[in-house]
Amino acid sequence: MNTTPTHRTAPSSWRTLGAFMGKEVRHLLRDRQTLLILLLLPLAQLLLFGFAVRTDIRAVRVLVVAPEPDATTSALQDRFAHSGRFELLPTTSSIDSLDVLMRRGMVDVAVVLEPGLASALRSGGTPQVLVVADGSDPNTGTTMRTYATAVVRDWQQSLGAAPASVRIEPRLRMRFNPTLESVNLFVPGLIALILTMVTSLMTAISLAREKERGTFELLLVSPLRPWQIIVGKVLPYLGLAMANVITVLLAARMVFDVPMRGSAVLLLSSATLFSLVGLALGVLIAAVTSSQLAAMLAALGGTMLPNVMLSGLIFPVASMPAPMQVVSHLVPARWFIEIARGIMLKGSGLELLWPPLTILAAMLLVLLTLAIRRTSPRLA
């Protein structure tokens, strides 16, 4: 065997990077259990959000109190029965039992009509209608009241009331999400959540594991450069993240009919940018922590929590206290959700979305610079 070391040239960056990235892919593929969870969890979350966690309300139990049931009042009942959101309870003629029924939770909304309603209408009077909603959950109560009022108004118009005077009638329409489907609103947020998990959390854990086991030192004393270590770590997870985005979007479209009004390419590019921000954050977290557990907790607290709580995913940014609104500017998911909702629901394009995209790009630049510097072997 040749005993003297052969002449060496600096190893090609791409070969070196390729060898390292190949290893990352093998890690991912070898741990079948984790991979399966990472692939299926997003779908499970989508189904959970889509079917169970809803802010729109269906099957509102409505009670019509009609002291003098006639054709007019049954027209109202028909409208409730066919609206798709209401479950019509047998009409009563007295208001007496209403309080008890609501207390027991058997009635969500009651519409109480005046006695002599039909004759009042005929003689040109203005009969009154009382809408009572269960307000123990204010959000739900308000929504139910709004639904019920809308049905009552339609009914009122069909009766051709008040023909004599000219009135200005407001017509309300919710643009972009006319049926107020909450799943439409959740899907962009859910994508942000999944991407955060796959990018920040998984890279932080994977890098911290190398530090914990001592393999990281071996990488640092090798010709691998910090940027190669980072790119090699990050790209396989980026691939996984994109696979997740695509499956969630397809499932959302097939199961829940979630629209995609803008450019899918723009959405995927934005998701890539957002993923890179998350990946850089994950690398940075791993660089400043020394164990897998610490990295995991830091990733959960530092990325998942703000991305869920301060991004507008669950609580609208506009309804946060002012200081929190300021903090939310630093949360990457806030910008991504704005972009994703814009593309999916409003069909917005680059001309409208460049500000949040620029902010994400700036975040990526800062985080990546920090990550590379913190991964440099000379920092200790």
Binding site: P11, S12, R15, G214, E217, S222, P377
Partner: protein, 254 residues
């Protein structure tokens, strides 16, 4: 030894007043020594004497506070990229990837050091044959006994035929037979011209080194062949040399 590798015709390692401070604490205090090519150089010292800090400087993981060092002819502070291509490293923590197979680990390290597939295959065949490696190359490293893992880690560190290989307490926790085999591997590497820089706290192992240095409180307290050191301190074993150095206030004696 005639090497085609530019920069390695001189000594393998030169340390000159090499110093590293962490705040007020001086971990390595102005050490100077030279290691010749092909030498098996032992680096001894109690825990916390500064061995690991010194190795981290030689391997480019840590910048010197003052002084200088060169490895394979290149300065560790200013030419660390070139140093890194020419060294092998095996840390005290066993560091192959447990969830990859033997073959995958070999391919990974070969690839990181820029070897092409044919070279990797050729060298790993020779390497495994020399090791008498009986487990399958497609078995996960996790499933190997510790002795095999350690021997494999050392062979992998030599795969790119480094000028210098740094071994940081390579034989911790393995049985005496494996330790013996491990030292045979070290000699084989040295006979091929690779300089071996090895830290240990087994003093019987220190006897196997061509020369050894003993660090006490960050300083180089003694340096020489095992025989010379025993003569100098007029004691029958390296154990006695070590105990004497660690007990006496060498730091003041310089």
């Amino acid at each position: 030894m005639n090497r085609s590798d530019a920069g390695s015709t001189g000594p393998a390692i030169v340390a000159h007043e090499l110093t590293r401070r962490f705040g007020d604490f001086t971990a390595v205090d102005a050490i100077s020594f030279t290691v010749q090519s092909g030498e098996v150089f032992g680096f001894l010292g109690a825990n916390g004497a500064g061995k690991t800090t010194a190795i981290r400087m030689f391997t480019g993981l840590l910048a010197p506070t003052s002084g200088s060092a060169s490895v394979a002819g290149f300065d560790v502070a200013t030419e660390s990229d070139r140093v890194r291509e020419r060294i092998g490293y095996m840390s005290q923590r066993f560091s192959l990837y447990e969830d990859l197979t033997v073959r995958e680990n070999i391919r990974l390290y070969g690839g990181i050091y820029g070897l092409d597939d044919a070279t990797i295959r050729e060298r790993s065949d020779v390497m495994l044959a020399e090791l008498d490696f009986t487990p399958s190359v497609t078995s996960l490293v996790r499933s190997l006994p510790l002795g095999w893992k350690q021997k494999l880690a050392f062979s992998v560190a030599l795969l790119h035929q480094p000028v210098v290989v740094f071994l940081d307490e390579p034989t911790g926790g393995v049985d005496p037979i494996t330790r013996r085999q491990f030292w045979e591997m070290i000699y084989r590497a040295a006979a091929r011209g690779t300089t071996v820089f090895v830290t240990t706290h087994y003093l019987d192992e220190a006897e196997y080194c061509d020369r050894l240095s003993i660090m006490v409180d960050g300083r180089l307290a003694a340096l020489g062949t095992p025989a010379a050191l025993k003569r100098e301190y007029d004691v029958p074993s390296l154990d006695d040399v070590f105990v004497r150095l660690v007990r006496s206030p060498v730091a003041d004696a310089g």
